[in-house]
């Protein structure tokens, strides 16, 4: 199938989704019990605002307009890259996000590396030795990784590596050594998911006829496994990597708190606790958009990874 119409179609639906995402994000404000204007103002003033003040505030922020119009205004600003201003400081939300982002990205990237480095060899080993003790052990190991609440794992790792062995720093951000423990904490959870996936997709692939073809050519087992099998087995893994970005962000929230890394997650938690709605909306929107865009890219990279994929098939 032609790529161009597919791209247009895919972009089209992504836009629809993004529009929906923006509506949901904006709507979060209305979840708050009570009148948003009043809540915001009482946070800002640190006291109960008067009716007049609330009225003035509404007028100032266009909150006396009908909701769709308010939304439109907000969206217009968002499209210009302006996510609003924090209620508590006059910092722009976009600026706050951009400041916090590098730490989170750094963590996410390092976690993916940890996850892949753990998952691919373990998954392959497990699949190749299907049903043996090696397989069971690595499956169990992977599952233990995914079954532990990650903050607990984080504290245990700190206990062992920072406090007992003293080889890695406890917390903080900035240096590579400070990245190791958080990346391992977040990476193991993800590695567990990926190991299982690599294993099951390797198992599927190992049953495929074309591996017999490869073996019957006289290829070495290593080449059969790592060239012919793994290449095919990685297709679903890459798809999941896109989805795992969500998991990474989920994990980052908790792990940034554990390791005192002022990234997006920490920013979000603080903002939620302070009811700093522009920041909450900004981060929510930003992560969702990042997620949609990443998955779009992942979809497109299918074509390279799996030539069979006819773009446009539902990769559900």
């Amino acid at each position: 199938m032609d790529t161009a119409p597919y791209l247009v179609h895919r972009f089209g639906t992504s836009l629809v989704v993004l529009a929906g995402v923006s509506v949901v994000t904006y709507g979060l404000l209305f979840l708050t019990p009570g009148d948003p204007a009043e809540v915001i103002l009482s946070q800002q003033l640190d006291r109960q605002p008067s009716e007049a003040e609330i009225e003035a505030f509404r007028a100032e922020h266009g909150m006396d307009e009908p909701v769709p119009l308010q939304y439109a205004d907000w969206l217009t600003d968002v499209l210009r890259g302006d996510l609003g201003t924090s209620y508590y400081s006059d910092a722009s939300v976009t600026g706050l996000i951009l400041d916090a982002l590098p730490l989170t990205l750094e963590l996410a990237a390092a976690s993916v590396v940890v996850a892949l480095a753990l998952a691919i060899p373990t998954g392959v080993l497990s699949a190749v030795h299907r049903g043996t003790a090696i397989d069971r052990a690595s499956q169990l190991g992977a599952l233990v990784g995914v079954s532990m609440p990650n903050f607990w794992l984080g504290y245990l790792l700190i206990l062992v590596f920072a406090l007992t062995l003293g080889v890695l720093p406890v917390a903080g951000a900035g240096s590579y050594s400070q990245l190791v423990l958080p990346a391992i904490t977040l990476g193991t959870g993800m590695a567990a998911v990926l190991t299982r996936l690599v294993r099951s997709s390797m198992l599927d692939v190992l049953d495929e006829g074309y591996l017999d073809t490869a073996r019957s050519k006289g290829l070495r087992k290593r080449i059969v496994v790592y060239k012919h099998a793994l290449r095919n087995a990685l297709v679903p893994v890459v798809t999941i990597l896109g989805v795992q970005l969500g998991a990474l962000l989920n994990g980052a929230v908790v792990i940034e708190i554990v390791f005192q890394r002022p990234g997006l997650g920490m920013l979000l938690v603080d903002a939620v606790f302070e009811r700093n709605y522009p920041v909450v909306q900004g981060i929510t929107l930003f992560t969702a958009v990042a997620f949609v865009v990443t998955n779009l890219l992942v979809d497109l990279s299918y074509r390279y990874l799996d030539p069979r994929v006819e773009l446009g098939g539902d990769p559900a």
């Binding site: 019990p33 233990v144 995914v146 532990m148 609440p149 903050f151 998911v193 939620v272 992560t287």
Partner: protein
């Protein structure tokens, strides 16, 4: 009436026979991990049911004189910072944690299945609209959205459940729709259409049962994710209010004592880990049996 009873009896008999004679059980039992999963889940379920009856102490009664006691005969899992018996708290907590997981999973399942079934079966613009809705839900990282929702609504278990339910249904919808679409084109559904079978009956009798396997597998795996999600939100501070013996909250509280009284954090930690592990193993096992073609797409983590 008697006919109905008879048919129920025969259906039960059939199921039983199917279970006994088919390879299902054998397949399931062939992998010790599956059996381990089933055992863990059974144990936790029993604990949840009879826990309050067998718990040696009241889970909230404090005994400040005996705070931070290590494991002993009187307190097999020690006592916490307020001198409460960890074992009793753990047992009471089992019901709570399991209850949350069941409730959240239940809501997700019902909502997601209904939407997926409708989308897959109706097709056309209904499908298109519902699937975009699914995409929108999936676009938000689950815990992030749950955190925002629970945070705005205020900390309480009810809000946590609500938030987790809101962010998790889409995986079911997607899975169900996918299975329905695949099943819909299978010859037996086409045959049913040609036999004048009503749409409703096709949906409930031919599509749903075939969807059930993957959905049950997803739900089982989901139980674990929900428990972890609850723990994560509890850690952030949006979980149960004290003195509720909810595992995630216990673990989050206990982290301050990790060095001085390891049992306070590690006992609920291990309990959560085992439960999640149990459900995941069971889910995997069920997948071997119910969904041999691995139709279950990997669930989106929350």
């Amino acid at each position: 009436m008697s006919v109905a009873l008879e048919s129920i009896a025969s259906a039960v008999g059939r199921r039983y026979r199917a279970l006994r004679t088919s390879r299902t059980l054998a397949t399931f039992c062939a992998n010790p991990l599956n059996v381990a999963g089933l055992s863990i889940v059974t144990a936790i379920t029993i604990a949840a049911v009879i826990g309050p009856l067998v718990a040696p102490y009241d889970p909230t009664t404090q005994d400040l004189a005996n705070r931070l006691q290590g494991p002993s005969l009187a307190h097999p899992f020690g006592t916490d910072q307020l001198g409460r018996d960890m074992l009793s708290r753990l047992l009471y907590g089992a019901r709570l944690s399991l209850g949350i997981a069941v409730a959240v999973t239940g809501i997700r399942l019902v909502l997601g299945t209904a939407i997926g079934l409708l989308a897959g079966y109706a097709g056309g613009w209904i499908d298109e609209a519902l699937m975009r809705l699914v995409d929108i839900q999936l676009a938000f990282p689950g815990l992030v959205l749950a955190l925002v929702i629970a945070g705005i609504l205020g900390p309480s278990l009810r809000n946590v459940m609500l938030a987790l339910a809101v962010v998790g249904w889409a995986s079911y919808a997607r899975l169900v729709r996918g299975t329905v679409l695949a099943t819909k084109e299978r010859d037996f559904v086409r045959a049913a259409r040609l036999m004048n079978v009503s749409r409703f009956r096709i949906a409930t009798r031919h599509l749903l049962p075939n969807v059930a396997g993957p959905v049950v597998v997803l739900a089982t795996l989901n139980m674990g994710t929900v428990i972890l999600g609850t723990a994560g939100l509890s850690f952030i501070g949006l979980g149960a209010q004290p003195p509720t013996p909810e595992w995630g909250t216990m673990l989050a509280d206990g982290r301050h004592h990790l060095r001085t009284a390891w049992w306070i954090a590690n006992v609920p930690g291990v309990a959560i880990m085992c439960t999640v592990l149990g459900f995941t193993l069971l889910g995997d096992g069920l997948r071997d049996v119910l969904d041999p073609n691995h139709e279950t797409t990997l669930e989106k983590p929350t």
